[in-house]
């Protein structure tokens, strides 16, 4: 680690310590469930693992093993320790296995996710039919968050430990084997699996599995055969088990095999058969049975053709192309538009590179394009994409080419400025091309996707130019030359002089027109005239000339297809092109100065006279017959049809022309971006129970006045709370401090049968030895809410009018049901923040990565950055100016405006809490948001149990949370539209308590059971290691994309290479800059449009405008995947619905025969009404009609409409039209 990095972390940790001290002092004074901070700090993974598991000694052992072996091997090593009792204090064999399995999962998930505690319910020892014992591991749904490898390894570790402690193997009964197969198929149908083993495969695994895999029921759907098995508790699918078996064992067999080979104690010979697929009876038929795993992978994954295979002898008939994939269009829903159909012309063009706010499952889109798609795309909007991954978060990048549109006035313009986009947006008739779409190399590595042919872009061209022998350095240094955006004359000159391919700026999309269209276009150009347009502008041709073609639809179409800027004036029979020289030369025409009479140069006066000859004539240097057969037929590789004119262009042009955009990437909108506070539903201010007394609003003030009957004391409510006892004066209370003597109280556990007082054992379990029942401290108790509320107000010195409403909870869901002090809620209500289930205040944001930032875009000044330790910009220059780029430190984060606002409110709440409740000095004392800069927060992702400490560095108007990719990876997130939360540091330290967490499956997820104070790049989700960190991709890379090479085969440096070195926290270079990390719309139109109908109208309207989208298909899919399922589902739900009492909320499976509520006598009504069933009916019919959907779809709607009529209309009392009365 570099010294600078060490300083950075020390600084964070000392800041953390400072807050910790304050929190500790506060906690000692308050009446929180625990008198100390409940989030332990973990400096490394070993700490986290130990803290999450709560098994002493694990951390030490993990550290010992870490340097010596891989994590997987360490897990096995630890299994031995558990078996022999060196680690953990387990007496039973089941306990040892359980400890080993949990530790293995924790270790393999870096101690971040909740899988080891929530995903493994228990391990038990059961008996085989022959009387021997076997191990049963009981998985639960949250094992999902562990991922396939850890799931698979958990089975191996269980088996290994089993062998070590001397338990026999499991031998499954036949019906159990069958059950596994049925269940996995059922689970796949219900929930879906990434990989679904075939029945035979499942049975094969089940038959050989040396331990039993079992688990909790996760779905409602039940298996139809193999029910009520003796050793399987449930007839529903056991989700955790299904995941482990399918995505763990079946999918990761080769990985497990690597470890079984080295273990003598256990033997999984069947893995080889599983990998080879030789569990089939007819395995011999499988042609590639003997292929080994690596080869399979390559073969399976390659979506495109494999040009490497092609023998040179038979030359390809067409260019390399990726294959269309329509997967991303599945489940299209109303209101979320398609931007491009798969590989469609006019869609996003793949450009390789990584912008500074890019990488890690994101897609760079030009901000002008974001505006032009009617603002549906904003920074952070998730898109479902065709390749390389499944989904990506959108980031604005303006150093790529923008979209090209055709305006109502006939102009075809490329829009490279978001301001222009907004200006011309209303006049857009057609979006001919969406512009470029930036994807970094690392994405292809991460998704193991063969490289797709690259667009011809500046980065590649400049290396071509150098390869052709030009002195690029000299050209770059020449102040008169803009290498990236040269004048047409210069571009031509370089192409000819150096024999390099034509500059991409003047390379058009020739591959998208057919050879015939190209010939027609060339003919039209030869007929064209060069005019002086007289506007005095030079138009980059070195003179004031433009090319004018006679207007013809085919010519206009061709020009639109190749995406060249021009003006169509059909009324004047003209098409005008400004930068005409490279274009004319490319179509094989030579401009020749005509034998003119000299007067022709007199442009201004009487050009309109028309008698003058143009001074330049265009001569076509070739005829269609000159084209080789290969060029004439060039098309697709499998189908030579002359659909692609690029070869023809190369034969007639005097220079090489590369394919401008061979890969288009289809995508559609997924989820909108998010930046909003996380509230429980309904939101609550305090985790204090008030039962039904608070009404539907759960208003504490109402509860304080509530009386069931006239004779009841107002405010006294019977509640389920934990009984506490004062150790000093034995007073019974539900509070954490004795109301009499102020001593801290302890839970008072009793046996529910014999009422004997019980003490928890070492493991925290409370059991009555005599009755063998679990003890509890929960009791029903009359609580005077009024008194609690009033005294709390008094103790913090607030009046009831300090807040609008104070909302409590109906009941507590934690095991000991300890209520939170109402005082905290009062102060939360005062500052309008709400509590999450664990007592913290949270704010959710969509994750996005950024590796370098400018002070100017973060709304901070250089001084602030310098104060945070930023001294140099990315080039090593001293930081003096707001526009300089600095490399972001790994734990620094950028808050959205909303988050900053929310953090300020939280800080005010914390300050009041410290002053008015804990009696300490305020900590934050913020006046405005600038003071937030430098403060620490917790980042925390759903499904995980570890928070990561982050530091606020600035603010953005985009509705996202920008942070270093390593920060996101430390939370186990990538940036494909995932969202997670931030909490203010002191809020987490003061208000979080494990005692509030729900006592149910998944209750410990999404709670900061431990925090990481510093990020070790080796201990984060390794997806982040695949991010490329270079400033330029080599020319070989671009050439390799044309071969659709495996991404691993090309040499681009990725972050992984720096792991464990001094450079691991630095050197994240990018290939593309962007002006601001928050360009384009701040919010997606999806969020700003009102009703679903508005959104859908906008979606369909946009689909008409986009060249790359087939609007009929969109309409069809919206109906098919959204309207029809909704209609059918609601209709089905209607005809078998539950009913509910409007007064007490009681639900009935069937309508009570009395008609009234059986509980309270209140009114009962349907839960699914006519209105909710047919809300989309008329819209769907209208859309089907307007967008010309297939008859099949229309008829399905017709049949449904009639069904609705039949159910909801009285045959004898049909609504009649006015004509019936005429």
């Amino acid at each position: 680690m570099r010294e600078a990095d060490e300083r950075y972390f020390e600084r964070l940790e000392s800041q953390l310590d400072e807050a910790f001290d304050v929190a500790e002092r506060a906690k000692e004074r308050g009446a929180d469930p625990k008198p100390e901070v409940e989030i332990p700090t973990a400096r490394d993974m070993a700490d986290r693992v130990e803290n999450i598991l709560g098994i002493d000694g694990v951390a030490e052992r993990v550290r010992e093993l870490e340097g010596e072996m891989s994590r997987e091997e360490a897990a096995l090593e630890l299994a031995e320790d558990f078996a022999e009792g060196r680690v953990g204090d387990y007496e039973s064999k089941a306990g040892k296995v359980e400890g080993a399995v949990r530790t293995a999962v924790a270790l393999l998930t870096e101690g971040v996710v909740a899988a080891p505690i929530e995903g493994i319910d228990k391990v038990e020892i059961l008996e085989n039919d022959d009387g021997t014992e076997f191990v049963n591991v009981y998985y639960a749904g949250p094992i999902r968050s562990a991922g396939g490898t850890a799931q698979a390894l958990s089975v191996l570790v269980a088996d290994y430990t089993r062998a070590l402690v001397g338990i026999e193997q499991f031998s499954a009964r036949d019906e159990e084997i069958e059950r596994y197969a049925e269940e996995i198929a059922l689970y796949d149908k219900e929930t879906g699996l990434q990989y679904t083993p075939k029945d035979k495969e499942t049975k094969f695994i089940a038959k050989h599995m040396p331990i039993m895999l079992d688990g909790e029921a996760t779905g409602d759907e039940e298996v139809s055969g193999f029910r009520d098995l003796e050793r399987v508790d449930t007839n529903s699918a056991r989700g955790g088990m299904c995941l482990v078996m399918a995505e763990g064992i079946a999918l990761k067999a080769p990985k497990i095999q690597r470890y079984t080979r080295n273990l003598d104690e256990i033997d999984w010979p069947w893995l080889q058969d599983l990998i080879d697929g030789t569990y089939y009876d007819d395995a011999a038929d499988e042609g590639d049975g003997e292929d080994d795993a690596d080869e399979d992978e390559a073969a399976d994954e390659s979506e495109g053709e494999d040009p490497a295979d092609g023998d040179d002898a038979d030359e390809p008939q067409g260019p390399p192309r990726v294959e269309e994939s329509t997967k991303f269009l599945r489940d299209l829903i109303a209101g979320r538009p398609v931007f491009s159909h798969p590989c469609a012309e006019g869609g996003f063009r793949l450009r390789y590179g990584r912008a500074r706010n890019h990488g890690f499952a994101t897609a760079g889109v030009h901000p002008a394009a974001m505006h032009l798609v009617d603002d549906f795309l904003a920074t952070g909007t998730q898109i479902k994409t065709e390749r390389p991954g499944k989904a990506a978060g959108v980031v604005p990048v303006d150093s790529i080419e923008g979209p090209t549109v055709k305006l109502a006035n006939g102009d075809v313009r490329r829009i490279d400025d978001p301001e222009d986009a907004l200006e011309i947006r209303n006049g857009v008739e057609k979006i001919l091309d969406l512009g470029e779409y930036l994807v970094n190399y690392g994405e292809f590595v991460e998704n193991n996707h063969p490289l797709a042919p690259a667009s011809y872009t500046y980065e590649w061209w400049v290396q071509d130019l150098a390869a052709a022998g030009a002195d690029v350095q000299a050209l770059e240094d020449d102040p008169r030359i803009d290498l990236e955006f040269p004048e047409p004359e210069e571009a031509l000159e370089w192409a000819v002089e150096y024999d390099a391919p034509l500059h991409p700026e003047y390379t058009y999309l020739w591959h998208d027109i057919s050879v015939d269209a190209f010939c027609d276009l060339a003919a039209a150009v030869a007929e064209g005239r060069i005019e002086q347009d007289g506007d005095g502008s030079v138009n980059g041709n070195g003179d004031d000339s433009i090319l004018v073609l006679a207007y013809a639809d085919v010519v206009a179409d061709a020009l639109e297809t190749i995406v060249i800027e021009h003006r169509q004036r059909p009324d004047a029979d003209r098409i005008e092109i400004d930068d005409w020289r490279p274009f004319v030369r490319t179509v094989g025409c030579e401009p020749r100065r005509a034998v003119a009479d000299g007067a022709a140069l007199d442009l201004d006066a009487d050009r309109d006279g028309g008698e003058e000859e143009p001074s330049i004539e265009l001569e076509r240097t070739w005829s269609a017959d000159d084209l080789s057969e290969r060029a004439r037929n060039w098309g697709r590789e499998d189908e030579p049809d002359g659909a692609n004119a690029i070869e023809a262009v190369n034969e007639v042009a005097p220079f090489q022309v590369r394919e401008r955009a061979p890969t288009r990437i289809g995508n559609r909108m997924g989820r909108p971006e998010k930046s909003e506070s996380r509230d429980l539903s309904p939101p609550v201010h305090t985790l204090f129970p008030i039962g039904e007394a608070g009404g539907a609003q759960r208003n504490v003030a109402d509860a304080a006045k509530h009386a069931e009957t006239m004779s009841d004391t107002p405010g006294v409510v019977e509640l389920q709370v934990g009984r506490q006892r004062c150790p000093d004066c034995a007073t019974e209370t539900f509070k954490n401090r004795c109301p009499d003597c102020d001593a801290r109280t302890e839970p008072d556990y009793r046996c529910p049968d014999c009422d004997e007082s019980l003490e928890p054992d070492d493991a925290g379990r409370v059991e009555c030895d005599r009755c063998e029942r679990e003890g509890t401290c929960v009791e029903n108790r009359e609580v005077d809410v009024n008194d609690e509320f009033r005294s709390a107000l008094e103790s913090v010195g607030e009046r009831e009018n300090a807040f609008d409403i104070l909302k409590g909870v109906k009941g507590l869901t934690s095991s000991n049901k300890i209520p939170e002090p109402i005082e905290k809620g009062i102060l939360r209500a005062k500052h309008d923040v709400s509590a999450f289930k664990d007592g913290t205040v949270r704010y959710d944001m969509t994750d996005l990565p950024v590796t370098s930032v400018r002070a100017s875009e973060l709304d901070v000044d250089v001084g602030q950055l310098q104060a945070l330790g930023y001294e140099e910009d990315i080039h090593g220059e001293p930081l003096t100016h707001e526009d300089q780029l600095v490399e972001l430190k790994v734990q620094d984060i950028v808050l959205s405006d909303g988050a900053a606002e929310h953090m300020l409110q939280t800080a005010d709440f914390i300050d009041d809490l410290l002053e008015q409740y804990y009696g300490l000095e305020p900590f934050y004392e913020f006046e405005d948001r600038q003071e937030l800069v430098g403060e620490l927060v917790f980042g925390m992702a759903p499904h995980t149990s570890a928070a990561t400490v982050g530091r606020v560095i600035g603010f953005t108007s985009a509705a996202v949370g920008y942070a270093h990719p390593y920060f996101h990876a430390a939370k186990r997130r990538n940036c494909d539209g995932d969202e997670d939360c931030v909490m203010l540091l002191l809020d987490g330290l003061l208000n979080f308590s494990k005692s509030f967490l729900p006592d149910q499956r998944g209750g410990k997820m999404d709670a900061p059971l431990v925090m990481s104070s510093r990020i070790d790049p080796s201990e984060i989700d390794d997806e982040a290691h695949n991010m490329d960190v270079v400033s330029q991709y080599p020319r070989e890379f671009y050439l390799a994309t044309r071969e659709q090479a495996d991404p691993e085969e090309v040499d681009v440096q990725i972050a992984e290479e720096n792991l464990g070195t001094d450079l691991e926290y630095t050197g994240f270079e990018h290939t593309h800059d962007t002006t601001d990390i928050a360009m384009g719309p701040d919010l997606s139109a999806y969020k700003t449009l009102g009703s679903m109908m508005d959104k859908m109208d906008a979606q369909l309207e946009l689909s008409r405008k986009l060249e790359a989208v087939d609007e009929t298909d969109v309409a069809e899919r919206v109906i098919e995947y959204h309207f029809l399922p909704d209609l059918i589902g609601n209709l089905r739900a209607f005809s078998r619905q539950e009913t509910r009492c409007l007064d007490c909320g009681e639900k009935f499976r069937r309508m009570p025969l009395t008609g009234d509520c059986r509980e309270c006598g209140g009114r009962v009504n349907l839960t699914v009404h006519k209105g909710s069933v047919n809300k989309y009916m008329q819209t769907a019919i209208k859309v089907a009609d307007e967008y010309d959907c297939r008859d099949y779809t229309k008829q399905r709607l017709e049949v449904l409409e009639r069904s609705l009529e039949s159910i909801f209309e009285n045959d004898k009392n049909k609504q009649s039209g006015i004509e019936d009365f005429m």
Binding site: I1128, F1134, R1136, R1150, M1151, K1170, V1173, Y1192, D1211
Partner: protein, 517 residues
């Protein structure tokens, strides 16, 4: 139960791909061990035989058992020669059951029929009578109607009290109640708690695990109507069940029969439009109807799923031969035209048809009727009762069978014996008792799904399996289908009985099965 035995034999033979002459079946049925006899006969059959004839049975049985049951069989055998048609009376046994392919085009066969002898009445058709508007009250009304009408069949049998009155009775009293099953739960100690509901409220009834009635608990479905008798617990909070009563078919039920020898073909699930529709088999069936052998078939009942439909399951269009729903019905109509014009056709819709899915399903609308008008079929709602010359046939498509089969233990209802699932419905006197599960309900002013009158024949389809038998003298028939195994069926291992036509003698309620696939 000789009739049930013959039914079993026929289905056993058809499942092995044989047709059988009626006499042959009767002989087999009256053998000492019909199953063994059947095995022997099948073993001895000549390779090319498709029909089990009397002589096959005779020769086998005589060889194996010299004291063959011929005499009995003869007396038991129905008086075959029908009186209504004078000519060709003795012919059927000779050519009967022959593979009908050769007679293709022989539509001119003598089908002299006298329409005056026929009678056909429809009851319970709710087409055009759907008055429900999907309000809460409509649902309440339909369940009250159910309790009212089925309860009336039970109230005479027990000394029933309303739920609200029972809880006020002294502990230890003998009580009885009639109600809808509201809930079925097992208790921690393995007893069963059944909540009955009537118009006044609910009351819990406990079936002890060691009582004889405990087996019946397996058969219970929610929302069926039954009566319970028992003793009130000391605190009057629960009653212990001593006996349970179902509306049921009276054991004494005597079915009506036709006065003449006349037959009806009971089929269902044609699925025209599906890639798997078996046009060949259908044509053979239609051709056969033109033969002499089928001359007595004067009625054709179709229990739903005329066409494959559109949008019945996701991506269905990929498995459709005819994608257009109207063209499907047009094609179906063409297939219907091949049926002799003098045969009376009655049909109800099924879950693949273009009507609402919720039951009761009204008959097709005008547009579809127009398409199918060529043969002038009677189109009525699902369910409906059609009475043919005095024999009442309750036609119901059978969606609830899936649920009965799923909920009940295998031995009481399974796809292999669909008629046993039908017995359960007969016992409950309701075609689709359970609400909220598989079956969809459209609330109407009355419960059209109640079997108020005992039918003589109960005819369903839907599960694509052939099976028939008698329950308390009611003939239950589940027709097979005309659609070969679909990919979906393959995936769940359902092997449909496709291309069979069960033919019922309306004068005896005997069933023969004709195979056309």
């Amino acid at each position: 139960m000789p009739l049930e035995a013959s039914a079993r034999i026929v289905s056993e033979l058809t499942s092995r791909g044989y047709n059988a002459e009626r006499e042959a079946v009767t002989k087999l049925a009256s053998a000492e061990n019909p199953q063994a006899a059947l095995e022997r006969v099948v073993e001895d059959l000549p390779e090319d035989a498709l029909v089990v004839r009397t002589d096959h049975v005779d020769s086998t049985l005589l060889r194996g058992n010299s004291t063959g049951p011929n005499a009995d069989a003869a007396s038991d055998s129905p008086a075959d020669p029908a009186v209504s048609t004078g000519d060709a009376t003795t012919d059927p046994p000779a050519t009967g059951g022959d593979v009908p392919v050769e007679t293709k085009g022989g539509g001119g066969a003598d089908r002299s029929v006298d329409p005056a002898l026929r009678s056909l009445e429809i009851a319970g058709d709710m087409t055009g009578q759907s008055t429900g508007t999907g309000e809460y009250e409509d649902f309440v009304a339909v369940f009250r109607d159910r309790l009212e009408r089925l309860g009336s069949k039970l109230r005479g049998r027990v000394n029933h009290r309303p739920a609200s009155a029972i809880q006020n009775m002294p502990g230890g009293s003998d009580v009885a109640m009639v109600g809808l099953v509201n809930d079925i739960r097992s208790t921690a100690s393995g007893h069963w708690l059944i909540e009955l509901e009537d118009a006044t409220g609910t009351f819990p009834w406990l079936v002890m695990k060691d009582r004889e009635y405990v087996d019946l608990v397996d058969e219970l479905l929610c929302d069926e109507v039954l009566a319970m008798e028992g003793t009130l617990a000391d605190d009057s909070g629960i009653a212990f069940v001593d006996s349970m009563y179902f509306p049921d078919i009276p054991r004494t039920h005597e079915p009506s029969t036709a006065d003449r020898h006349v037959q009806a073909a009971l089929i269902s699930d044609v699925h025209v439009g599906s890639d798997e529709f078996m046009a060949e088999a259908w044509n053979r069936f239609a051709d056969w109807l033109h033969t002499e052998q089928a001359q007595h078939v004067e009625y054709l009942l179709l229990a739903g799923d005329m066409v494959e439909g559109v949008g019945v399951y996701p991506d269905q269009d990929e498995e459709l031969e005819i994608v257009d729903i109207y063209e499907q019905y047009e094609a179906f109509s063409e297939h219907l035209k091949k049926i002799p014009g003098d045969i009376e056709i009655v049909m109800i819709p099924g879950n693949h048809d273009a009507v609402r899915l919720a039951e009761p399903q009204p008959g097709f609308d005008e547009e579809l009727r127009e398409i199918m008008s060529a043969h002038d079929p009677q189109i009525v709602s699902n369910p409906s009762t059609v009475t043919l010359e005095g024999v009442s046939v309750l036609m119901y498509h059978g969606v609830s069978l899936d649920e009965v089969i799923a909920e009940l233990p295998e031995e009481k209802a399974s796809y292999d014996d669909p008629h046993k699932a039908m017995y359960q419905l007969l016992k409950k006197r309701h075609v689709a008792p359970q609400f909220g599960g598989h079956t969809r309900l459209a609330p109407e002013e009355r419960d059209y799904l109640v079997m108020e009158e005992v039918p003589d024949i109960f005819h369903t389809g839907h599960v694509h399996k052939l099976g028939f038998g008698k329950y308390h003298n009611v003939l239950a028939i589940n027709s097979g289908c005309w659609q070969a195994q679909t990919d979906f069926q393959k995936s769940v291992n359902i092997d449909p009985d496709a291309g069979y036509a069960p033919i019922v003698d309306l004068d005896t309620l005997d069933v023969t099965v004709q195979k056309f696939s």
